[in-house]
Structure formats: C-alpha cells, structure tokens
C-alpha cells in the first residue's frame, strides 16, 4: 500500500506496529509481516503486509496516535501496479 506520512519510513513502521500491538496484540502484529518496501519522495512510502491481515493494518495506520497522521492513498496486490499508480499520485500531489 502507498502511505502518505511526513516523518521517516522507520517511524511509520514503528508507530504502526505500536498501534497494532495495542489494538490486536503481538501475535497478529508479527503475523502481518509489515515491511517498508521503498519510499517515493520524502512523504510517500510503499509498505507491504500479508493480505489476510490487511484490515487490521489499515485500522492501525488510520488510528495512529501521532502528531503526524498517516493517510493510505492506494492498495494493490502487486508492487508493479502500485509503483505505477504511486507515481501518478505523486504527480497529482506535486510532492518533491
């Protein structure tokens, strides 16, 4: 999925994991296999998770209790199509 988040990708991953542990516990968080794939510009990040836990991950990202909330812009089953669409979104948002 493509996530708009202002601070670093590491912070996105750690705050999402913290919220997920808080909401669903350590076991579900581990099983979800959250991983940063790459970043597009300073604010757009592509992250991956197991599809079985997509709902839990989306809830955790939406409910991140941080000074900088995260916005899920796109979801795809393949990285190739996500990469193409992410570039379009970057152009639409005019991110540097």
């Amino acid at each position: 999925m493509v996530v708009l988040f202002h601070p670093s990708p590491e912070e996105l991953l750690s705050t999402t994991r913290d919220r997920m542990v808080d909401m669903f516990g350590h076991v579900i968080t581990q099983k979800a296999l959250l991983k940063i794939i790459y970043k597009i510009g300073p604010d757009l990040h592509v992250i991956r998770c197991r599809s079985e836990y997509l709902g839990e991950v989306l809830c955790a990202i939406t409910l991140i209790d941080s000074e900088h909330p995260a916005v899920v812009l796109d979801i795809s089953g393949t990285l190739r199509s996500l990469r193409t669409r992410a570039m379009d979104k970057k152009m639409s948002l005019r991110l540097p």
Binding site: L4, H6, D22, M23, L54, G55, E56, L58, C59, I61, T62, L63, I64, D65, H68, P69, V71, V72, L73, I75, K89, S92, L93
Partner: protein
C-alpha cells in the same frame, strides 16, 4: 473557494465520492455550490442557498432541536439513548470522528468500538443514522474509503449496508432543504 480545491483534489485520490466540509460561523455568501461538497454549518441559513448543507452540533443535548441534522458524539451518558429514542422521527445523524478515536489508547479504543457498534444498532432500530467521519482539520488527517471500510468491519458493521444507508440518509436530509437553482 480556493481553500476547497486542495481538499477536492485529495478527495478523489482517496476514492471518496463526496465530502463534508465544516464551515464556521459568519457569512455564508462566499460558499460555492460544488456538487460533491456538503457544507456543515453551525446554524441554519435564513434564506435558500446555492450549496448543499447539513446543520451540525457538537452537543448531543441538541438531539431534540428541530434544525440540527448531525450531532457529534465524544462521550455519552444514560440520557443519550433515551434522547435518541425520542428523536427517532427526525432521522438524525450521529457523528463519530476518527480523529477522536485516534486520541484513545487500546483499552479506551476497544470500549469506543463497542460504543460505535451499539450506536449503529440503536440508530438502525430507531431510524437514525451513524455517520463515521475523519474529523480532519487538514488534508493529512483525511481517511480513505478503504480505511473507513476496515474500521466499519472492525466494528462488525457491513460496509455495503452502512454506505447504502448513509447515501439514503444524505439524499433524504439534503433533499428536504430549499436551494437556489444555478442555471
């Protein structure tokens, strides 16, 4: 008008069909008549408008007020369900903001999820409508359609049922108002 444009651009990126934008107090003459925007006003305009609107309140004791369409909920007491029962004929919207849920820790969040489920069941029974909103104060706090679906599923609410009933409720509420036709 130019303040609304970035929000509209972001709205389409998030896969949302229409959005509500809160308008403070003051003159409503500067509000444009965008088709996919519903303006959320604190009080009912005295004359017909060119824009679609709903009247909102943050105090749920306004449930029985005849002008209010949407009431924001952050805490409830025993009176709430009683007032909701009494206001059933008005088809009121009960708003829960994601920005409020964000501020709660895991334990309180679990209680709030149960609360949303309970309010949804209650509103269905008495003809009112649960309205889940982002409560965003900037575009970076907005919530995408897919994330709303995930939150609804977390609350054991079927997204299709929710969106259909919200759509019907909005059509009913907005259709009741007087507007100036922009021909």
């Amino acid at each position: 008008m130019h303040v609304v444009q970035p929000v509209l651009k972001f709205k389409s990126l998030l896969g949302l069909k229409s959005i509500g934008i809160e308008y403070g107090t003051g003159n409503t003459d500067s509000i444009g008549g965008e088709a996919d925007v519903i303006h959320l006003l604190k009080s009912k305009p005295s004359a017909p408008t060119i824009f679609r609107y709903l009247v909102i309140s943050e105090n749920y004791h306004d449930l029985l007020s005849k002008d209010v369409d949407l009431v924001g909920i952050t805490a409830i007491d025993e009176q709430f369900y009683e007032m909701l029962k009494r206001s059933s004929s008005k088809k009121l919207g009960i708003e829960i903001a994601v920005s409020w849920l964000r501020k709660t820790n895991g334990q309180k969040l679990a209680k709030n999820i149960a609360l949303i489920k309970s309010i949804h069941n209650f509103t269905q029974k008495y003809g009112n409508q649960l309205v889940l909103t982002s409560g965003a104060s900037s575009i970076f706090e907005m919530v995408s359609g897919r994330c709303f679906d995930a939150l609804l599923e977390l609350c054991d609410i079927k997204p299709e049922t929710y969106w259909n009933s919200l759509n019907n409720w909005l059509d009913h509420k907005i259709g009741m108002r007087c507007y100036i036709c922009d021909t």
